[in-house]
Symmetry: D2
Subunit: 437 residues, 4 copies
Amino acid sequence: MPTGLINDFFSRITDAGRSLIGPSAPDLTLLEEALELLGSIGEASSVARARIFLDRYLTASDADRRAFLVDAAERLGPDRAALETAMTRYQKSGSEADARALHFLSEPRSQELIRRLNRAPGGTRDLVAMRNDLLRWQRDEPSLKGLDEDFRHLLASWFNRGFLQIERIDWDTPASTLEKIIRYEAVHLISGWEDLRHRVGAPDRRLYAFFHPAFPGEPLIFVEVALTDRIPEAIGPILVTERPQVDPAQAKTAVFYSISNCQSGLRGINFGNFLIKQVVEELSREFPGLTTFVTLSPVPGLRDWAAGEAANPDGLLTEQQREAVAMLSPADLYMDVEAAAGAAETLGRIAARYLVEAKRLDSLPIDPVARFHLGNGARLERVNLSADLSARGLSNAWGVMVNYLYDLDDIERNHEAYAKTGEVAHAPPVRRLLRQG
Amino acid sequence: MPTGLINDFFSRITDAGRSLIGPSAPDLTLLEEALELLGSIGEASSVARARIFLDRYLTASDADRRAFLVDAAERLGPDRAALETAMTRYQKSGSEADARALHFLSEPRSQELIRRLNRAPGGTRDLVAMRNDLLRWQRDEPSLKGLDEDFRHLLASWFNRGFLQIERIDWDTPASTLEKIIRYEAVHLISGWEDLRHRVGAPDRRLYAFFHPAFPGEPLIFVEVALTDRIPEAIGPILVTERPQVDPAQAKTAVFYSISNCQSGLRGINFGNFLIKQVVEELSREFPGLTTFVTLSPVPGLRDWAAGEAANPDGLLTEQQREAVAMLSPADLYMDVEAAAGAAETLGRIAARYLVEAKRLDSLPIDPVARFHLGNGARLERVNLSADLSARGLSNAWGVMVNYLYDLDDIERNHEAYAKTGEVAHAPPVRRLLRQG
Amino acid sequence: MPTGLINDFFSRITDAGRSLIGPSAPDLTLLEEALELLGSIGEASSVARARIFLDRYLTASDADRRAFLVDAAERLGPDRAALETAMTRYQKSGSEADARALHFLSEPRSQELIRRLNRAPGGTRDLVAMRNDLLRWQRDEPSLKGLDEDFRHLLASWFNRGFLQIERIDWDTPASTLEKIIRYEAVHLISGWEDLRHRVGAPDRRLYAFFHPAFPGEPLIFVEVALTDRIPEAIGPILVTERPQVDPAQAKTAVFYSISNCQSGLRGINFGNFLIKQVVEELSREFPGLTTFVTLSPVPGLRDWAAGEAANPDGLLTEQQREAVAMLSPADLYMDVEAAAGAAETLGRIAARYLVEAKRLDSLPIDPVARFHLGNGARLERVNLSADLSARGLSNAWGVMVNYLYDLDDIERNHEAYAKTGEVAHAPPVRRLLRQG
Amino acid sequence: MPTGLINDFFSRITDAGRSLIGPSAPDLTLLEEALELLGSIGEASSVARARIFLDRYLTASDADRRAFLVDAAERLGPDRAALETAMTRYQKSGSEADARALHFLSEPRSQELIRRLNRAPGGTRDLVAMRNDLLRWQRDEPSLKGLDEDFRHLLASWFNRGFLQIERIDWDTPASTLEKIIRYEAVHLISGWEDLRHRVGAPDRRLYAFFHPAFPGEPLIFVEVALTDRIPEAIGPILVTERPQVDPAQAKTAVFYSISNCQSGLRGINFGNFLIKQVVEELSREFPGLTTFVTLSPVPGLRDWAAGEAANPDGLLTEQQREAVAMLSPADLYMDVEAAAGAAETLGRIAARYLVEAKRLDSLPIDPVARFHLGNGARLERVNLSADLSARGLSNAWGVMVNYLYDLDDIERNHEAYAKTGEVAHAPPVRRLLRQG
């Protein structure tokens, strides 16, 4: 039975429920609506109330939505009376059973709310949108963190890896899905249908995405792959549509040149790790000649970090490097070619230092793209200068891009070292850069 | 990408992980294996360990499996130190944040174990099998209840209604799925492929099932439907394959004559309610002439209950009814036709009393089939004598069957009254039986 | 087994055959290659030769292709000796058996050639391309007519109606098929993907196409439909993407506003008739509120005909009409608005006369679009002035478009009258125009 | 659009046509109905008449159907007047154009009738049934041969190889298709669903079938394959379900142990040749370890031929062989074991002689199974005694079966030699048998 039909069913049951519970009371706040929903015991009326709540939420003003989320965070926590009783009982008995019971009795009511909302037709999709709000406002409203824990916990459960379906996207994919690829590509923008056709349809290009049964036709994350004869040094030759094509059967290298998350409301629920590994497996099987799996990745935080570090004599950069940073304002970069060329020599060293040594308090790298690939067990393979000459590439990282290498024999070991100590696996060329600087 | 391919990926990633962690140590107990799994931090090695654990579990002896489950229940509860800290912090601050934190910090480690096992290829299926063990042994091992809470909680989340797919099963369904229908039919056995063909392929018969994306080709629950011209009084004429067929476009009544749960490891996670309502919707749409949706259901607990009640002068039965019960031993039933006929007159009254008035401590009906349909909001419509003359029908209920009526206009009200007070909705013919008795 | 796989098989068998027959002899003419193919008796070698021949044909120069077709027409006719024998035998016996035998023995060898070519992988498609050549050159090479008879005969057999599959094209259709719709739309050009999305995806727009199993993903013909509240008077409001949309459930009228044949090599093998009727059926079923099925069609031959007729005092036009035609040069049309307005009054009458009364020698209408719809049994419903202000619309027909009405109750009668006598069914408004003129 | 929907369309258009032409006249003969159909010019009425005719034909008595076929053969030949004119014109001009025209003008009207019937919903299927009648009665009614030529010609065109789809049949195939496999297996009967499951579902068994788009769900021909480690000597070990299974990745040999045509009305339109070659390709690709593709085939005509030959001192058998045949009556075969054993020694030689040397007038082998495989280019590889101990095997061929070997490198050469001179390719073991005898 096609999904459309199922949603149809849902809708009609929802309608049935709607007629049972009568007209909704427009003067209720969202929180009051939510409490009604938590109190309803009939199946159909509960589904109908969930749908009504979601409709109201989605059309409410920013202020009302935000107020509701704060209310829910602050007032739909655990049932205090039940919690106290459970604690008392556990403290008396110390038994395993009472310890376990404590967990269930302390469940925030917001979890039950989220579960009930998930039963509405289209509920999962709307909850992802709601979490998007939560993430946006969380910085200003610390109390939202507690509620976000509930969302994260339940979404991670519903979007667990076993339920994801990998699909190849190509020129035979429905246009309705392809237009989402155009919309969601966040790294190297797709300029239109011809550009897209090149990325999904050229014989030496591939695009794979994860889907979830509850989000039909809606990619969660996708990765774009170029099959090449060697590790690429720049993004331009990959993106250009007029170029010599590689016979995929002769290709030696698969380049992951763009990875885009599509659902910001699923932030923190990681699919990318597993997607890359599945694609490595799939490509290995289809093209036994492939020996190297590598990314061509931006270094989004390089320039901001270097600018800060340039002002810090006790930092990771040498004096010469700090001076180079000072010279590398965009104006210089274009106007004084010689000076820029001189500074560029040191750029590779700065980038290596940034990626391998610059760490956050939790001793993980500062660069978010680095954290993603290193966390997957990849190795920093090479630093490429003048690799991304787009406005963004220049402005974020003076055009620097790097390769992360996925070697299935090493990823587990790399991952463990990284997870335990923050150690950044890196290849000899990067080691040389570090030694030079 | 077909499911087979996905499992393939999983398997190869699992194999990769397997080679990383080396040969498994056969002298580890299942609990020790589980602790290794909880401690592993690499993705591939964790998936591989999960698969190794499940393979060992599935091939272990009953005694070892049971020992593991008891161990897990008793030793993989919440982290006590974390729990104590969280309690202290909450008791000091009383804050919402600390109340919410308490819930997350008190999570039994067995939940994380189950989640990790679910990531192995085929993990969901194996966890359902593991829960089946848990349910079998729970009666003798009360400590397993705590662990079962974890299973029930997570399985309910993974098998939530939004992820289920309804499908019509017919003679164009793959044989591999059809043979499972033969195997799982638990109410009115299917005698072979010809019988099956009649049940799924006759124009006035339908069969619908729920599926889950993680269990491809494996029905979770199914319902068999006969389209008839009136509410049926006996099961024989429905099951027989040589019979006059009803033109479905002329049918007035849809009879749910068999509902079978297929996965005993999913007990307590209810799909049936929703399945019936979806099928009502689907049939209404396809055959606008249908006006009545009704079951033909067994009364499995009638005879046991009546036997007990016959010995209880202060019970629900009248003296005459108690005498009738005494006469209705199977021997009599066949040998002394006249006496049996006399006793039979009172059978309907006894059955009505059993279904409407005999209650458990929680004030819900004793009969499990009654609890299911009444809990869905159905109404007890009619009591049918000599309706199921199979050995089981006679032995459980002297051949009595009943109809439960699903009226979409009433199910929500019936359900609420039932849920709040245990009130059993029943139709005038049943009311008359009660008055007579 | 997906089509790709089948073609794979074909290809490998072809390759096997290729190796059997050795390297092809590049000095053979196409006709000599064709004779080799007709002489080959092995299955694989015959398939291989067919593929080799087609590859050579497709890459040959225009001159060589044309020379081959003329050769084939002139030298691959019936086997004269066999024909003479069969004639003699028939003339002697006059028997039914000998009359029947005469037909089979007189089959042109070019038919066997075409059948053998059709067995090559992709053969059907290439034969359609070959027929396209044939049609192009036929005007200058009358001898090609005989060969075209063979093509038409066999293609009509292979593309018979029972093998065609109707499909709705929408925004969920593969992009590879959608781009062909953009390419093949011949009536009202599609300006790009956004325009296409409007035509296939807006709730009040539909597009249906016929496909053939041997041409996967390749439409043969398609029709575009607008659901409206009344019979439209101009094409602009239908094509514009920013417009009020009609709720399809409320629509009264389905407008076939564009019908495009996609394969010029299939000219003369009519699918359009049946496509329109199937779409009428499909839409009637989906939207029971539809009462009117009508086209909005160009009148491509109007202006040319009128220009000729203006010079003919004994023709179908009145003197006033002939003067109006003289005034309606494009320059006037824009520069002398008043005069044009005056002339325009008579335009409707001229158009009506053209469509209803102007006939070819076979007594069918001169206008090809009229022949198509009237031949399907439609009725000329209304003449619309200023209906197509595109350059083509103005240049072909001074902007005139007409509606043809498909009324399922009348099409059979209309069709028969038209087929027998060339009678053009027309509605009262058209009758009034004729009377006025 | 699913096939069901298309048929729906057809049906409704047919119904529309039916209402146009009014009630059918039950007193018309089938021939008169056919003439009405040939005379109708409306599309819908023509489709409706075609359907009406087919319905009448299918429900008519044998006598009426046979009378119609004879009438059609005798009275729906070429239009004599047109034929005469065409002949005169050709004889005068001798031109290529007139020779070609003669072919088209001499087309029997029965061809147009068949084409029109093919446009009715389900027409192709019914025409296949009609041809089945034709084949049955042809022996007694030689005049039917002419009509059969028309059927054969058009069916061969519609069932041309490019339109056939190969599909693997396995345990995931719809039951409705599987039951047809059970029904159509003509060589080694399938005893029920368990037997079927073994043949399609065991890892070392395969079943492939050809389908046609106009016969959805209906196999045209299928072949059963066993993957084994060596060329098999007997059918028993292949058919038995309890047996050691071969790991298909280790198999060396693919055995085609059963080939069944499903549609007797398509007799003479050969698919088997191509099916076997496609399956060879498919298996080679899936299991690169396969080196040998071989049949295990019955020798259905052996015993009848030998019985005749035993009475003919001037025939192909030696005196000793003729005596052995005389001893090998079934009674002896079981009752006098020793004598039978002695006679058996010569059986192999008799079989070799029968297959390699016994020829029809057209110099092709007498045995129909031999003609099929040798005509495909296979080689007679080995004679197996006591290979088929079923009643049929014993009664047709004293239990003898043979292997035909398909070697892709030789089939083209074998085929050509066979086609030209009837030469039977055979392997050294068969040559030895011939020399011994």
